[in-house]
């Protein structure tokens, strides 16, 4: 089959504003959108610029807006999109070139929640024990690949670019609910704020956007309850 791919393009060295370009690409229904981008780059226009690496949804490089939804280009197939495909960079983040966005602010939010295990006890000889039940509390949250699809799909992020956003809050959840972690207090101080937990209005865009099918809103809600319990 033949598909029409419309891509929002921007070259910082020559363009004042982004513009759309249309490409006609031979495709198989089982092709990934990334295959289409590769086809264009390799056979039509080598200047097309995007990030990609693993090509099967584990590295998180190629989150972009595809037919109006944030997705990984390597995890969505042509058969699920139809013959007309529109591709734009992730919203809100500054565009560097074509589909490549500047993720600095996204990762700054991630770093803000102290995304590392905090435990100042002298480490035991063997592993710290964790029951399967405690492990299950955080397991889904540890699937996050930090692609940015969720945070950049969130209307609260659109309204306030400084909102921590679902990815950073999910990371906070992952450590607060890790039975081995002792940093709950300092992390709650960071997320229990107007630009943190309380700017999540349970819109569920993050859940729809997540390529790893993480129930992000559910875990943010658990973190909200934890913050409230800690306060009162």
């Amino acid at each position: 089959m033949q598909v029409t791919v419309k891509i929002k393009r921007f070259n910082p060295e020559t363009d004042e504003a982004p513009h759309w370009e249309t490409y006609h690409v031979p495709a198989d229904p089982m092709d990934r959108v990334l295959d289409l981008l590769n086809y264009i780059k390799w056979h039509i226009d080598g200047t097309l610029t995007y990030r990609r690496s693993c090509a099967h949804g584990v590295c998180g490089s190629d989150a972009m807006r595809i037919n109006g939804e944030n997705k990984l280009a390597c995890s969505v197939l042509v058969k699920d999109l139809g013959p007309e495909i529109t591709i734009e960079p992730l919203p809100v983040l500054p565009v560097i070139k074509d589909l490549v966005v500047d993720m600095t602010s996204f990762f700054r939010k991630y770093e803000a929640v102290k995304p590392w295990l905090i435990n100042d006890d002298p480490p035991p000889e063997r592993e710290r024990l964790q029951s399967p039940r405690d492990h299950a509390l955080i397991e889904e949250a540890t699937k996050c690949i930090l692609c940015g699809a969720c945070t950049q799909s969130c209307p609260s992020t659109w309204a306030d670019p400084d909102y921590l956003g679902p990815a950073a809050l999910l990371k906070a959840y992952r450590f607060v609910f890790d039975s081995r972690d002792q940093g709950t207090e300092e992390r709650l101080r960071i997320v229990d704020s107007n630009q943190g937990l309380w700017k999540c209005y349970t819109i569920f865009n993050c859940v729809e956007a997540c390529p790893k099918e993480i129930d992000v809103t559910r875990w943010i809600s658990a973190l909200k309850r934890r913050a409230v319990t800690a306060r009162y």
């Binding site: 080598g46 099967h56 584990v58 590295c59 590392w116 399967p132 081995r180």
Partner: protein, 607 residues
């Protein structure tokens, strides 16, 4: 453009690079350069597990693990390094757990363990539960945890910096690296006392691969151009279960959980080839068996694939232990693996060979043979002896992970031993660097003259050409050629064809034309530069494979079907000189004394 100074520069931000950075940062100022954001590194794609004889699920001992690794390597692994790895494994895993890795757990809260290919109890008796795992995303959680620990320790990251050259000054010391800042198109010099190459593998040399687009073997090529040899490049692992046509990995953990391979007749054919461990035989064995089935007409529908059957596993087992591969099957093949078998075929997966190092990751450029022999020999009692040799190191240079060859994997790597290699030797490199700095001081070595010259000339040559073939065309031809001639089975004829083809492909690769002549985020330019890495790697594989006239591990010569210890119990060292000529030298394998390690003596490898 700019000169940056750090005591330690780590190139590559996967498991090995981050582990080295994490431990070096305990006593040094460390910078990590990566052509990707660190969390995009291919370590994150490792699925099934990381082995260590923790004995959490059943009795296990490091010596059993070491035996399996020696045997799995088809006796080409250096046994001193293998012992170090298997002894270091339990405490390294425990340290990872303390750093926060969310491993799956046993009912009593310990790190859970499962069986994996080639890992056995009591010297080959039966499969053992040795692989620590986090469902089927073990690499992902290790990568994320290590990045978290590096952030906590204030390691300096330079993301999306492509390293183009390794700098060695006229005194023969490492002086730093030259890197291209992808976002700005600027070339920078990084001065350092110690440099760690941890750039990962080269799977993109082949058409069908489980590897990421980023795995173009840059570190191998950079080392080669700096006069460093590459060791054992003929040994390329094809993982038996890549998704048909796509090459995407289906973890061996799927067979660890009970999955089986079936041919067109529905027969569980591995029972015929490896009666003891069956579907948990090592990867080189299973990949050959799959091709054998296909050649004899028992591929599915007569085509070039077989089935991986998980339909007899419970839905819960698939959902909890193998969720990622269930999702991959659903997305990319439209298959629910609890109901239908998954079409699979071997896929290029891992480089056993690489930059030669000792067990502390120190890179050497040459070997002095003190007894005049480059291979092992048998004494009067028939015991294998290692002739004495000395290594000539490159001061300040380290390598770790897939780009390095310690060698613990020899001719064939066992599943889970690559994650283990990354963390054990990454950690050892980090610690060795701190010791080096404390011993030798932190003075930054003098730079060679005009350090950025070669990098600048290479890029400018690509940017200035307005005529030529596309990168994609030349790369596709290279990948197809390697697939046709240098994959699982090889002969003198295919290797000779490959040797002729690669010379022609190199010519073409050096004359490609790109569309993007801009400075900022020029990935077109990067792909053209990476193609040169792929060519260097392919050439080293071909020459090393053509010379080795025996079959050992992943190097299977149909014209020399037997292992030949008398002639070939030795490591290959491939050199490439500035005039384009190549040379092969050899080095004995380190075999431990037979009195102490009788099980480690080379013998026929059966499963």
């Amino acid at each position: 453009m700019a000169i940056f100074e750090h005591e330690v520069v780590v190139v590559g931000a996967g498991g090995a690079g981050l582990m080295a950075a994490r431990y070096a940062s305990e006593g040094a100022d460390v910078a990590v350069l990566s052509k990707l954001h660190p969390l995009r590194s291919h370590t994150g794609a490792a699925q099934g597990g990381i082995c260590a004889a923790l004995g959490n699920e059943e009795e296990d001992h490091w010596i059993w693990h070491a035996f399996d690794t020696v045997k799995g390597s088809d006796y080409l692994g250096d046994q001193d390094a293998i012992v170090i790895m298997c002894q270091d494994a339990p405490r390294t895993i425990i340290e990872l757990e303390h750093d926060g890795v969310p491993f799956s757990r046993t009912p009593d809260g310990k790190i859970a363990q499962r069986p994996f290919g080639g890992h056995t109890r009591n010297f080959g008796e039966a499969p053992v539960r040795r692989a620590c795992y986090a469902a089927d995303r073990t690499g992902h959680v290790i990568l994320h945890t290590l990045y978290e620990q590096c952030l906590k320790r204030k390691v300096r990251f330079y993301n999306e910096f492509q390293v183009l050259d390794l700098l060695i000054n006229p005194d023969g010391e490492v002086a730093g690296v030259v890197a291209y800042e992808i976002r700005t198109g600027e070339i920078h010099t990084f001065r350092a006392r110690a440099v760690v190459l941890a750039t990962g593998g080269y799977g993109r040399v082949y058409k069908t691969t489980s590897n990421a687009h980023a795995n173009t073997g840059d570190g191998f090529a950079i080392a080669l151009r700096a006069g460093i040899p590459l060791e054992d490049m003929e040994f390329v692992q094809f993982h038996p279960t890549g998704m048909y046509r796509l090459g995407i990995l289906i973890t061996e953990g799927a067979r660890g959980e009970g999955g089986v391979l079936r041919n067109r007749l529905g027969e569980r054919f591995m029972e015929r080839y490896a009666p003891t461990v069956k579907d948990l035989a090592p990867r080189d064995v299973i990949s050959r068996c799959i091709y054998q089935e296909i050649r004899e007409g028992r591929g599915i529908d007569g085509k070039d694939y077989v089935y991986l059957d998980l339909t007899h596993l419970s839905l819960k087992q698939i959902e909890t232990k193998l969720p990622e591969i269930a999702t991959f099957s659903k997305i990319y093949l439209g298959i629910d693996p609890s109901r239908e078998p998954i079409p699979v075929a071997p896929t290029c997966h891992y480089a056993m060979g690489g930059i030669p190092t000792d067990p502390d990751g120190r890179v050497y450029r040459a070997v002095r043979l003190l007894e005049g022999r480059d291979g092992n020999y048998q004494d009067e009692q028939g015991r294998w002896v290692t002739p004495r040799f000395e290594l000539e190191y490159v001061p300040g240079l380290y390598a770790a992970g897939e780009v390095a060859c310690v060698s613990v994997h020899g001719a064939n790597r066992l599943g889970t031993n690559s994650l283990l290699d990354l963390v054990v030797f990454g950690r050892r490199v980090g610690k060795a660097i701190v010791q080096q700095l404390e011993r030798e001081g932190r003075r930054l070595p003098a730079l060679p003259d005009d350090p950025e010259r070669r990098a600048r000339q290479t890029l400018e040559a690509i940017l200035s050409r307005s005529e030529g073939e596309s990168v994609a065309q030349v790369r596709a031809d290279l990948q197809q050629m390697m697939m046709d001639n240098v994959s699982v089975f090889r002969t003198a004829e295919t290797l000779q064809q490959a040797r002729q083809a690669i010379a022609e492909i190199r010519n073409r690769a050096e004359r490609v034309r790109i569309d993007d002549h801009g400075r900022q985020f020029n990935t077109d330019l990067m792909e053209a530069w990476e193609l040169l890495s792929l060519v260097d790697v392919a050439e080293s594989i071909i020459h090393s494979a053509e010379a080795r006239t025996e079959s050992r591990g992943a190097h299977s010569r149909e014209d020399y079907p037997k292992r030949d210890d008398a002639r070939w119990l030795k490591h290959t060292l491939f050199y490439r000189y500035p005039d384009g000529s190549v040379e092969l030298r050899y080095r004995p394998v380190t075999i431990l004394p037979a009195e102490q390690y009788p099980f480690f003596q080379p013998k026929e490898r059966k499963y």
